[in-house]
């Protein structure tokens, strides 16, 4: 049953997203705890590299479509929230292709270095940039080991109301926070499944009963640059 307070909270979060994704923390905190009986939710992704075909970029197009970033003809300065990376073993010449996006680190260097606190981690583990406080210093881009962030180099047209962007600020994958807060899946995950690949799994990695946690517990998974101690929320299997 939805109580009046919960309803207000939900609409509150929705408007906050609409007006710039500014202060979602407070909401996420209560939400994260109330849904799980005190245990904190941590949203994460598991990517099965074996199911991710070389040459497929469904997740990339879906993200670009959903969040309104994309090719403007300036390849070097255009934003890329998610990209397909080809990894090749120099000895065996064996290649794997996998999507890389913001890893929603538990210890995010981008958050540590941000002078204003514009880079922040929500209580549910999603790492975001508050577009109202970002001064565009780009220190977070220097600090991110995954090259997950883009700087908006040009004036923007046709923005999506649920994913506000701003020239002169930095942005990255939001894990489709606007969808997640409404109980939906991130656009990439949905698109990957719809295309029949099912290579991406989204869920609460802190909940031992969730499908994602079970899969992570049963299969050997890898996190990119685990040695750096960032504790990414994105894991890869069959890499």
């Amino acid at each position: 049953m939805t109580t009046r307070r919960q309803f207000l909270r939900n609409t509150g979060a929705f408007t906050a997203t609409l007006t710039g994704g500014a202060t979602l923390i407070a909401f996420a905190e209560t939400q994260a705890k109330s849904d799980t009986g005190g245990r904190k939710t941590r949203w994460g992704l598991l990517i099965d590299v074996a199911r991710c075909p070389d040459g497929c970029s469904t997740c990339v197009s879906a993200c670009s479509e959903e969040n309104g970033w994309g090719d403007t003809g300036n390849r070097l300065t255009d934003a890329q929230w998610i990209r397909k990376v080809m990894v090749t073993d120099p000895q065996s010449k064996l290649s794997r292709s996998l999507p890389v996006m913001c890893q929603h680190c538990a210890e995010p260097p981008c958050v540590d270095v941000c002078p204003t606190g514009a880079s922040f981690k929500r209580a549910d583990g999603i790492v975001l940039v508050d577009k109202h406080i970002c001064i565009g210093c780009r220190y977070c881009m220097m600090a991110c080991p995954y090259k997950a962030r883009s700087f908006i180099h040009e004036p923007l047209q046709d923005q999506k109301s649920h994913a506000p962007r701003g020239k002169g600020t930095v942005e990255s994958c939001t894990l489709c926070v606007h969808r997640v807060d409404l109980g939906r899946l991130p656009a990439c995950v949905e698109a990957c499944a719809a295309a029949g690949h099912d290579a991406m799994l989204f869920g609460d990695i802190n909940d031992p009963e969730s499908e994602i946690s079970k899969r992570i517990a049963q299969h050997p998974v890898r996190k990119i640059r685990a040695d750096l101690g960032t504790d990414p929320g994105v894991s890869y299997e069959n890499l």
Binding site: N74, R75, L76, T77, D78, A79, Q80, R83, K84, V85, M86, V87, T88, D89, P90, V100, P109, V111, D112, V113, C114, P115, T116, G117, A118, I133, C134, I135, G136, C137, R138, Y139, M141, M142, A143, C144, P145, Y146, K147, R149, S150, F151, I152, H153, E154, P155, G166, K167, G168, T169, V170, I224, R225, L228
Partner: protein
């Protein structure tokens, strides 16, 4: 001790011309900043891989030099060297001016310079960048107070304590600036604690070189004397600092070569076939280090004046190149997402990135330099910063002690 008489600069046509030219360059810099702001950073050479470009090189050079230039004042009030006392005021003034110029560039290069007030009101205390904002603002206040103790009547007894505070503060400031890089674990070229001492050595060397050239020029323009022996002393000190920079540079690269995970980027910077390798060996090491070191140690009288001037110029050129290699060279090398593997993507993964500095970036940087110089000149015009004479008979040329700290 000899009494020093200070006098403002006279408003001569020459001075007006200089101020006019500096004003033009500042205006060009502001225009460039506006242009970058209006069209976005797409009009610069920067991109999503090279996120800090030429303006950062200018800004960091100026900030590093700002703290180093204060060294002359520290020698006077902290280490009690009478020789440097007459130049202490000017050293403080230049420190403030250079920092102001550097910060102006840094701020105007932000994606949202209009949000400066946000940067001043929202602090993330975990961020070394936020700490730097404190260090920089504090530096202005402390050096201004230090100047006041020197120039105000009856504050003489506070000069030494104020000098000490300024001394400690400037070491913290340079450590902070160096640490901006040292803390970036993701970037292989930077992830090293040696960055902090290296930056301190760089600041001493760049700062003194700037100080020598600026003071010589100011004296020449206002018809004041600058003693031969005094210059020789400054030249020798410069030699020491150049050697320190070379030493820390060697340590920096040797330790990096030793750590296997840094070998890739080191090989690229030191032995590759890119422009950065040439800049490193020719610009930074040879022009900015070895040649000036030889020049200042040349004992031959007569040529020494020219030699020291030339050495100072080369230190500045080489120093600029050094900052360029650190800032840009460190960024063009790709991040290692999967160490030991080959990677490629649409986002420049696994490739050496290119960076072409653009005219607006250059103008913005030069605007900062001009702003710094203009503030210093206006300061000397309005207040008594420059002694009537820095001739050898006007300063305290006691024999230099052979030992003892100079930094």
């Amino acid at each position: 001790m000899k009494r020093t008489v200070y006098r403002e600069l006279n408003l001569s046509p020459g001075l007006l011309l200089i101020l006019g030219l500096l004003g033009l360059v500042v205006a060009a810099g502001l225009g460039a900043a506006w242009y970058m702001e209006y069209y976005g950073h797409v009009v610069t050479g920067m991109n999503n891989q090279i996120v800090w470009g030429l303006p950062h090189v200018f800004a960091i050079f100026l900030i590093v030099a700002a703290s180093g230039v204060l060294n002359v004042a520290s020698l006077a009030s902290v280490f009690n060297r009478a020789l440097y006392k007459p130049m202490a005021r000017l050293s403080g003034l230049l420190a403030i001016s250079l920092l102001a110029g550097g910060l102006a560039v840094l701020v105007l290069d932000l994606g949202r310079p209009d949000r400066l007030i946000v940067a001043m009101t929202h602090f993330n205390f975990k961020s070394i960048f936020a700490w730097n904002i404190f260090l920089y603002t504090g530096f202005f206040v402390i050096v201004a107070a230090y100047l006041f103790t020197q120039m105000g009547r009856g504050f003489g007894r506070f000069v030494r304590p104020a000098g000490w505070v300024a001394f400690v503060w400037r070491l913290a400031l340079t450590t902070g600036t160096g640490s901006i890089f040292g803390w970036l674990v993701a970037r292989e070229a930077y992830d090293a604690a040696i960055m902090a001492p290296l930056f301190i050595a760089m600041s001493l060397s760049f700062g003194l070189a700037v100080f020598i050239l600026f003071t010589l020029r100011s004296c020449a323009l206002s018809g004041r004397e600058f003693g031969q022996d005094l210059l020789l002393r400054l030249g020798r000190l410069l030699g020491l600092f150049i050697a320190a920079v070379l030493y820390f540079t060697a340590v920096q690269h040797l330790t990096a070569l030793y750590a296997s995970e840094h070998r890739g980027v080191e090989g690229f910077l030191l032995f590759g076939d890119s422009i950065y390798t040439t800049m490193f060996w020719t610009g930074q090491v040879l022009i900015g280090g070895v040649v000036p070191l030889v020049l200042v140690t040349l004992p031959t009288h007569g040529v020494s004046r020219v030699a020291i001037k030339l050495a100072s110029t080369l230190v500045i050129v080489g120093g600029f190149v050094q900052v360029y290699v650190i800032v840009i060279g460190g960024q063009v090398y790709p991040l290692a997402l999967f160490p030991g593997m080959e990677v490629s993507s649409s986002f420049q993964d696994g490739v050496i990135a290119g960076y072409q500095p653009s005219l607006p970036e250059f103008l913005l940087g030069m605007g900062g330099v001009a702003l710094a110089l203009a503030i210093a000149v206006i300061g000397m015009k309005t207040l008594r910063f420059l002694p009537e004479s820095l001739g050898d008979e006007a300063v305290d040329l006691q024999p230099e002690p052979r030992t003892g700290a100079v930094t």
